[in-house]
Symmetry: none
Subunit: 224 residues, 2 copies
């Protein structure tokens, strides 16, 4: 009973739980999940949670609020930090996966800038960008594979709403309800999102359905 094809919803739920856990230290409630993944009824969330339990991807404590636990849960190994003297310290603010929006700058956002969540980035990788606007995301899932970004990669982004043609950006597609990394090309009233992998076809979206969240400055991948 392992790894059957998960529905998009189930993936979203799993991703959300993971992110919520990392952000808050405790699991979300059924209703919180429902709101995040855009499910109207708590029973549907419940239904899908039980599915995930069947698939051995989740454990539940019955009758217990927030009684969720991810299996294979390695406690989000904090990226080791070193001396802030050299290289820049960039906040690792979360993960990026298909169908989940990025955390947005503002309000309580700076709250999470813990030392544990800072990651060192060599100066030469980011040029002269203002370190204030930088943040890092860890990529989960292989949804970015067509952008030459693999699971586990860390992408360094500069927070900005507008992009120039050719930029690699993280965009929120309101219609599809997902975030991806793509090369950005504004063409008339619409936007062409070009995968980095030349063998794959671009996708076209109306300009007002696209929400640029940041521009990718660098990618760091660690093997093993």
């Amino acid at each position: 009973m392992d790894q059957p094809k998960l529905s998009t919803r189930q993936k979203n739920i799993l991703d959300f739980i993971q992110r919520f856990l990392a952000d808050n230290g405790y699991p979300p409630t059924i209703r919180e999940i429902g709101e995040a993944v855009d499910i109207a009824s708590t029973s549907v969330v419940n239904y899908n949670l039980n599915k995930l339990v069947e698939y051995d991807l989740l454990e539940r404590a019955p009758e217990v609020s927030r009684g969720l636990r991810l299996v294979n849960n390695q406690p989000t190994m904090p990226v080791s930090v070193s001396d802030p003297a050299f290289g820049l310290q960039v906040p690792l603010v979360g993960k990026i996966a298909a169908s989940m929006p990025l955390p947005v700058a503002g309000e309580d956002f700076g709250y999470y800038y813990d030392a544990d969540d800072m990651i060192e980035v060599p100066q030469h990788m980011i040029g002269s960008a203002d370190s204030q606007d930088l943040f890092a995301l860890r990529v989960t899932g292989d949804s970015m594979i067509d952008a030459m970004v693999a699971e586990g990669d860390i992408v360094i982004l500069k927070r900005q709403e507008i992009a120039n043609n050719g930029d690699m950006v993280a965009v929120w597609l309101t219609e599809r309800g997902e975030t991806t990394l793509k090369h950005y090309f504004h063409e008339g009233g619409r936007v062409r999102l070009q995968p980095a992998n030349p063998t794959m076809e671009p996708i076209y979206v109306d300009a007002d359905k696209v929400n640029v969240q940041g521009r990718v400055l660098a990618v760091m991948r660690t093997l093993h």
Copy 2:
């Protein structure tokens, strides 16, 4: 407001939360704490929890069941043993492209270790590897595209002749006369070279026609 003397109760509470968290993956309720630490009234537990928050040992999410989080007390791991406390300086010894062998270690090799050819790599990307054995290559051409490595990327390698199954390695294929990056699997008398991109087929080569040049530890990509 730090580290005043904690009462025995408060210590017990803290200990219990920690244990409970490790056991269950989610924090305990006030009543669960009360029972464990032998406190009769929920209000007393509540009272002491707020004390712990004052002491910066705990965080609480108001109105949230199990809304507890231990503040991260444990220092983030001893890092950077080989103390250039910042990132390591790794020699950028050349480029890698299809049909070109890598420069081999030896003789006058150290000669080229010019300051200009050193590149900074964050410690966290290479773990505990001996910096002596490290070198970096810039990728040219898109021959590595099926290994999720693009033109212009910099790969950090550890010089070694033998590889373990699953390692990503730079290999020299004597027969084909080219070097590529692939995942390495020794299977009987031959070697399976598995592209990182799961949609692509592996290639098989006789073991004695394969020459491992180094193992890839990390990949760094700079956009723009």
